[in-house]
């Protein structure tokens, strides 16, 4: 049985379709990312999976039960953990007090000290929450998400607003959690986050899934296409270049190719023959960011 199963999920607010015909499955122990721009339907989807929001249509199962089913909600909520977008911690408690209080909500919580250690707040355990930095509060927030020892953890944009170091810390923490078998479902609009953490990703745009797969193969990434870029040399126009040019943006030429060796040979041969330098010449695999931007360009 998968940890999460979603079939033809739909949710509308009045006339507005927030989620439409969304289907996917999350296997146990997997890190699954929902990637998409703001307003694409990511948060709505996971709120439905958590049982926080009702759906308008489709089939949903979280840990084998329907999250909208009242009778099993208490059971379900003792087995999932949720980290919200907003920092939701009372300011006057200490780190230990908040974690101890919330541990008491669960039938089989993780030991408080172990969680404090895991989120790296050992030195701050007896500090008031309001005295913590933004990044430390976020880590405490994650701590509250895992205090119940959840089988399935929902992370709604877990690193939004963190500095690069804080993001690395959060990623390491998430990796540690997945190492002991916790299934993680996260939303994000950072491509590097997906590459760093996710086993599989689904891209949501305008309420629909536009692509899904592993971060390395999504959108034909594994097909061997490369992107070649260089600044257009002085006195040269696009038509002089002996290759198909994808775009020229502010003097930056972009060429896509499935056969990088031959294309480069043609390009450099031409440049040498004409006595040109190609400033800033670079060759790169298609990045997840390129794919993502291609897939979500219709958003605006």
């Amino acid at each position: 049985m998968p940890a999460v199963s979603v079939r033809s999920l739909a949710k509308s607010y009045g006339d507005k379709q927030a989620v439409s015909d969304v289907s996917f499955e999350v296997e146990k122990g997997e890190v699954f990312a929902l990637l998409g721009p703001n307003g694409a339907g990511k948060t709505t989807t996971i709120e439905i999976l958590e049982g926080f929001r009702d759906r308008s249509g489709g089939e949903v199962s979280t840990l084998g039960v329907d999250p909208a089913q009242r009778a099993t909600q208490r059971w379900l909520r003792s087995r999932i953990g949720v980290v919200l977008q907003e920092l939701a911690v009372e300011p006057f408690f200490t780190v230990r007090q908040v974690l101890t209080r919330n541990a008491g909500y669960y039938p089989a919580p993780r030991p408080v000290d172990e969680v404090i250690e895991l989120i790296g707040l050992k030195e701050k355990a007896d500090q008031r929450v309001k005295k913590l930095s933004g990044g430390q509060q976020r880590r405490l927030d994650v701590g509250l998400g895992i205090i119940g020892n959840p089988e399935l953890l929902f992370l709604d944009e877990p690193t939004t607003g963190l500095d690069p170091l804080g993001r690395r810390d959060s990623w390491n923490l998430i990796r540690q959690l997945t190492a002991d078998g916790t299934t993680v479902m996260l939303t994000t609009h950072y491509m590097d986050e997906v590459e760093a953490l996710a086993d599989r990703v689904a891209v949501l745009n305008n309420a629909r899934i536009v692509a899904s797969g592993s971060p390395t193969s999504i959108g034909g990434r594994d097909s061997g296409t490369v992107t070649i870029r260089f600044a257009l040399p002085e006195g040269v126009t696009a038509s002089d270049i002996p290759l198909e040019v994808q775009s020229i943006d502010d003097g930056l030429v972009t060429i896509r190719s499935d056969d990088e060796l031959r294309t480069l040979h043609t390009l450099t041969g031409w440049a040498l023959e004409k006595g040109l330098v190609l400033p800033g010449l670079s060759v790169s695999r298609v990045s997840l960011e390129d794919i993502y931007l291609d897939l979500t360009r219709t958003a605006s």
Binding site: G64, A71, R77, A88, F92, A103, P109, P111, R128
Partner: protein, 278 residues
């Protein structure tokens, strides 16, 4: 111990209990556990706690020592301070259960605390009940302080009819909790919460005769009688004064009850767990 080793296998998922939202004695214990944390949170902010608890007593002492020995007038030959003590008990109930509760709920909602509370495995009625009980407890604490200060500072007799007094206090707490909840649902954001609630609250207690006695039958009394504040003051006054009228102010309690029902209806209709960000 209910704690588990991190590496211990989790219990099997196969058996899904379909118990309802009430699980007996354990849930009652959870309410008290949560109540303790609510109180802890309140007292961990000593400045806030002092002003919440102390304001009613401070005002009683100020008004009592300046104007308290004057007669109420309007045919009542009792000292004003005798009127102020039940009046500020009403003030204490309203400031805790209405004013502070409404602001706190808006804060919690906009911070995302209500959403988190909703997603915890403990049924929400337990967590909400603990919040309400905590503010009621703070109202009762103010009541005790006011009665003691009234008795030993101003020789004010306690209530002549204790059951009538306690029932009125209870009805007042329930009604103003409902109104506090309803009010929280119409306030869009944290910045608006303090000013909006406080202005409405202080204008109403002023017009309802907290600081001066309003003669029954006057235009102001007529106006104030549409709102629940004056009825709570008068009902508590009746249980204090006795003699002149019955200590049970059924009419006042009735009007308050209507407001309470309206409060519950509005709160239930407009309630939101997620931040509104208005």
């Amino acid at each position: 111990m209910t704690t588990a080793e991190p590496t211990a296998p989790r219990p099997e998922t196969a058996a899904v209990p379909t118990s309802g939202s009430f699980q007996g004695l354990g849930d009652v214990k959870l309410i008290f556990r949560q109540f303790r944390y609510e109180q802890l949170s309140f007292w961990l902010n000593p400045v806030g706690a002092f002003f919440t608890i102390g304001l009613s007593t401070l005002l009683l002492v100020l008004l009592g020592s300046t104007a308290g020995s004057a007669e109420v007038g309007h045919g009542l030959d009792i000292r004003l301070v005798q009127y102020y003590v039940p009046g500020f008990v009403a003030f204490g109930i309203m400031s805790s259960c209405f004013n502070v509760l409404a602001i706190s709920i808006v804060n919690r909602r906009e911070m995302g605390l209500l959403k988190r509370l909703r997603l915890s495995p403990v049924p929400t009625w337990i967590l909400l009940a603990a919040i309400f009980l905590s503010y009621m407890f703070i109202a009762l604490l103010q009541m005790v302080i006011l009665l003691v200060v009234g008795k030993f500072g101003f020789s004010v007799q306690g209530p002549v009819d204790v059951p009538a007094f306690l029932v009125t206090v209870l009805v007042g707490m329930l009604v103003f909790t409902a109104l506090g909840l309803a009010t929280s649902t119409v306030i869009p954001n944290v910045d608006a919460a303090g000013p909006a609630v406080s202005v409405v609250f202080f204008i109403l207690v002023f017009l309802s005769g907290l600081y001066f006695y309003i003669a029954p039958g006057s235009g102001l009394a007529q106006f104030a009688s549409y709102f629940p504040v004056r009825h709570l003051i008068l009902a508590l006054f009746a249980s204090f004064e006795g003699g002149r009228t019955s200590p049970w102010a059924w009419g006042d309690l009735g009007v308050m009850a209507i407001w309470g029902v309206v409060g519950v209806a509005v709160a239930a209709r407009r309630w939101q767990w997620a931040p509104r960000r208005g």
